[in-house]
């Protein structure tokens, strides 16, 4: 059986080095990696390690050893299993394996790695919602076909959604498409942030269709408010 790293033998080493350099150049890199005692406390605390063939210790060590090949493999596979709960932050050496995984994921997205596209399949509507409305979880996402394993209550919520939202005393919560009523000016400011920090470019790498829709929505609003993109 081929060793896992061999799966990526066709990817030039220089390309793997380029991505690894992006990881080490992140401003948070040295905040998250101090060294490793190999004690395994992070693994013992990790929920994903109980469920998957996943180890925050292996990832931390691979990055610390500058094992470019292994880090490339982990960036393509392991990192998407992390729960991002940061239980691993109890590391006695002061590492944050969860934080390091955030950076690895970010580099995977920024470079449009297949793993990132695969891991985020079916996730586009969430990205659309958060980037275009400023609230990630909206009441109208509670649809029985999206959450069949949550039982019949989801159907009841979705069938009564408008009425039940109007039966909420806080004035900001009478919404169905947003979690709360967000000012248009606030959303415009959020769009400027996405533009000025290169987040829209990241979306383009993993989902061109979504990028086009978001760009249309944002440009129209920004232009209405006198901003040129």
């Amino acid at each position: 059986m081929a060793q896992p790293v061999d799966k990526y033998a066709s990817v030039p080493y220089e390309e793997k080095e380029r991505l690894f350099a992006q990881v080490t150049q992140d401003i948070r890199f040295h905040d998250y990696l101090k060294g490793c005692y190999e004690c395994g406390i992070c693994v013992a605390a990790c929920p994903s390690a109980r469920f998957y063939d996943f180890s925050p210790r292996k990832i931390t060590q691979a990055v610390a050893r500058e094992d470019v090949e292994l880090v490339y493999q982990q960036m393509n596979e392991d990192v998407w299993n992390c729960s991002q709960c940061f239980s691993c932050d109890r590391c006695p050496r002061g590492n944050s394996p969860g934080g390091m995984i955030t950076i690895l994921r970010e580099v995977a997205v920024k470079n449009g790695l297949h793993s990132a596209k695969e891991a985020l399949e079916g996730y586009g509507r969430v990205v659309y919602k958060i980037m275009s409305t400023g609230t990630q979880v909206s009441p109208d996402m509670l649809q029985p076909d999206a959450f069949p394993d949550w039982g019949p209550d989801v159907r009841e919520v979705s069938e009564n959604l408008d009425l039940w939202r109007r039966a909420l005393p806080p004035e900001t919560l009478h919404t169905t498409e947003l979690a709360w009523d967000v000012d248009e000016k606030t959303i415009t400011e959020l769009y400027l942030i996405w533009h000025m920090t290169g987040v829209l470019d990241m979306i383009k790498e993993i989902d061109e269709g979504l990028h086009m829709i978001l760009q249309d929505v944002m440009e129209e609003t920004l232009e209405e408010h006198g901003y040129s993109v």
Binding site: F51, R105, M141, L142, W150, T186
Partner: protein, 404 residues
Amino acid sequence: MANEVTVPITSVTRGTIPQRVFQRDPANAPTEDIREKLFELEAQGEWIVQRVPDDAVEVMTKYGRTKHIPRQFTWHHKSCGQCGHIPGYSTSIFWLHRKLGMQYTDPKDQTSCTAWNYYASATSNAAAQAAVAVRNFAAAYETGYYPMIHCGTSYGHYKEVREQLVHHPELRKQVRDIMAKLGKPLVIPEEIVHYSEWVHAMRFEIAKRKVLDLSNITVTVHPACHYYKLVAEDAIYDPELYNGQRTAIVSAVVEALGAKVADYSTWFDCCGFGFRHILVQRDFTRSFATLRKIERMKEEANPDVTLTHDTGCVTTLDKSQFAARAHGRNVGIPVMSEAQFAALAMGAHPYRVCQLHWHSVDYRPLLEKMGIDWQARWAEFQEDLERLRRGEREFLTWEDADAR
């Protein structure tokens, strides 16, 4: 025998373990006090530090430092998961403020922290996340009210952002430039405050207004990972609770209300939310939530309810039980936030205020045990809905919420 020595039995110490005495010493804390850096940077003209209002309660945090929790004049940074899917959570937080006579504002000039998406998909970066946080902080500052964060993930993430902004001048510059484009100052709050810290700080005032006897109610507590693991030093600890070895958050409220806190072995485990998993890989979420949390609680403590203080934890622990029940697993514990539980204890309506019809696991046996006539309250709520249907009212109001 002349050389025989008699050893008094009391001097034999083999096999005994002296009890460890755990002393907190903020002077020797393993982390810096980030607040000192905030003020140093303010003195250098780098940013404005928004002060906690004078009307505040002092609490102790993990390394023995003092944190100030504002009682009122708070700007409520809502949670998208709470407002979207468990709206009785947010409503109960507001209701508690109103009943205690504490002034607050519920802003529309607020976005989500966007951290759920970031931890799920990484479709963002440090600069964007910091800019989103600081835009919200600036919006709060403009109102004169102090940010109170409803979501545990927003709270944890904003603490991460604060550390990054303190330690990376290039990030501060980037965010300052973005804020300038938005016409806003670079503002950072003196303390990052979670709503559950406010409930903790106000617990005795809440308990004074309690209208129910909760002495027969057994509670298990799930402390939220992003509250006490992510930038751990800000979390509230109390030497009187768990010998000071675990965060006192939520548990102290339950004790103040007179209910029983029951322990269970997997208290440290996360709920299984996983950020991306809850949305697109729920086999992990369901399994972890039920096998590692709910079943352990059920077997070891058999509680009437489990309480937590974060968006994802309530959703995960509540919604995951349906599929497990279908597989005949030992589940069936109602789940809610401590804010909803405290509101119920103070006489809040279970549907108009706590909005328990949005929850999945059957909570009615709990309400009966708490002495709440849920059938009468449900009938009242159905009448409210009828009035809305008939167009007599467009919305349920705060006045309606307390009408009898």
